[in-house]
């Protein structure tokens, strides 16, 4: 009756049951997740990966706001066909300044990790404002409001950069002070295009790590 008798104790004691569940459910996370949080290689940027500039960061936050991750991934897998289609496979160090990560879980549209530089700015502007103008069979929604809104409408870019600096992104005081003026007169569309055009461009084959 040993094990079953022991279990009866758990079934008769709320505190023990709660404790038991907590312990058993924590083991996986402690073994699998916690070590990853201390693994430097997973958050060390690759040689040429830099923190996002003000305009690109504003663009990234728009990408997040509009839920672009629900259709577009940013993770090229080390598979032959994938590398042929999208470019060099994604390394962990390229995402060192991504908060949150935007790897996505679905490709209704193509992967965007190395979209930077593949199309002109004009193409992106046309495509975002009306996808079907450049890709007739596209089912992507249109984002006409991006051109009409100011990139710094909520005037929070300095606070964002400061917050990221607290989290470890190396922004200088000058960069933060100049952030608002970088966004001056720029639309949300400008910001998003700036973000897209730098995606994946910092990595060169042979970069460390």
């Amino acid at each position: 009756m040993g094990a079953l008798g022991l279990h009866k104790k758990l079934e008769e004691n709320t505190g023990l049951l709660i404790f038991g569940i907590l312990v058993v459910a924590s083991i996986g996370g402690l073994v699998q997740v916690l070590p990853s949080l201390f693994q430097e290689s997973l958050r060390t940027p690759t040689e040429n990966t830099l923190p996002y500039g003000a305009l690109e960061l504003a663009g990234r936050d728009i990408y997040i706001r509009e839920g672009c991750s629900t259709c577009h991934s940013q993770q090229i897998r080390p598979l032959l066909a994938e590398v042929e289609r999208y470019g060099a496979y994604s390394r962990a160090g390229e995402f060192a300044y991504d908060r949150p990560f935007l790897w996505g879980s679905k490709r209704t549209g193509p992967d965007l990790h190395r979209i930077g530089g593949k199309y002109t700015d004009v193409w992106h502007r046309l495509h975002l404002t009306d996808p079907r103008a450049v890709v007739p069979a596209s089912i992507m929604p249109a984002y006409p409001w991006l051109a009409e809104r100011q990139a710094n409408a909520s005037e929070d870019i300095e606070r964002k950069l400061r917050g990221l600096r607290i989290l470890g992104h190396p922004y200088s005081d000058e960069e933060i002070a100049a952030a608002s003026s970088v966004l001056e007169g720029r639309s949300e569309l400008d910001a998003l295009v700036a973000y897209l055009q730098q995606l994946g461009t910092a990595f060169q084959p042979g970069d460390q790590p």
Binding site: L79, L80, A81, E82, E84
Partner: protein, 205 residues
């Protein structure tokens, strides 16, 4: 109830008088070989045959761009594998059904289980005529409603044919559906694994 002979012609009335078909089937005591050689093997021939004809004439339309033309000998091989898979499916499903029968108080003869599965699966075998034009979506369009009809027939026919209460039949049919869903998804997974390991279309992995 008088015992009647099992007849493959039962399927001719499946669309118009399914209840009669099941009532008649309930009165038979077929043996497994009889069902297999009189009906299952012929129904099992249809999808591979249609698929071979369609694919060799039109090529496989996966929807993106030009159709895939596969050499005839390879097509013949694939069709034969399809045939074997279908027969394997018929037989194993009947065996699983027979295995479940004891729990639900149903008839235990393998023959009657084979007859039930074969007759309930007949609409799919006949619907496979869509393979004559191997466009994936069109096949999905026709075969999914056909599948739903087959599932409905299973729920309707199982209690009658296996001579159990309708409620018990509902439980057993649901258990069989669970098995079939798992088998279907296993087939999907197995197919993907075979492709990745080089058996199948050329993939860049």
């Amino acid at each position: 109830m008088t015992t009647t002979r099992f007849s493959p012609l039962l399927i001719s009335r499946l669309l118009t008088q399914p209840s009669r078909v099941f009532a008649d089937l309930a009165g038979t005591r077929p043996n497994a070989a009889e069902v297999f050689f009189k009906l299952a093997i012929w129904l099992g021939c249809l999808p591979p045959l249609f698929a071979y004809i369609g694919a060799s004439h039109f090529g496989w339309h996966l929807g993106a761009g030009t159709p895939l033309i596969v050499p005839k000998p390879v097509l013949a091989g694939i069709s034969f594998a399809y045939f074997l898979t279908l027969l394997f499916g018929f037989v194993t499903t009947a065996l699983v059904s027979q295995w479940m029968a004891a729990t639900y108080g149903a008839r235990l003869s393998l023959g009657i289980h084979m007859a039930l599965i074969t007759i309930v699966g007949a609409p799919l075998a006949i619907g496979s005529i869509m393979h004559l034009y191997p466009h994936v979506f069109l096949n999905v369009l026709v075969l999914v409603p056909t599948l739903i009809w087959s599932m409905y027939l299973l729920y309707r026919g199982l209690p009658v044919v296996l001579r159990i209460d309708p409620q018990r039949g509902m439980l057993m049919a649901s258990a069989l559906v669970a098995y079939l869903l798992v088998a279907a998804v296993s087939l999907l997974g197995l197919t993907a694994m075979l492709w990745i390991h080089g058996i199948g279309p050329r993939v860049g992995y």
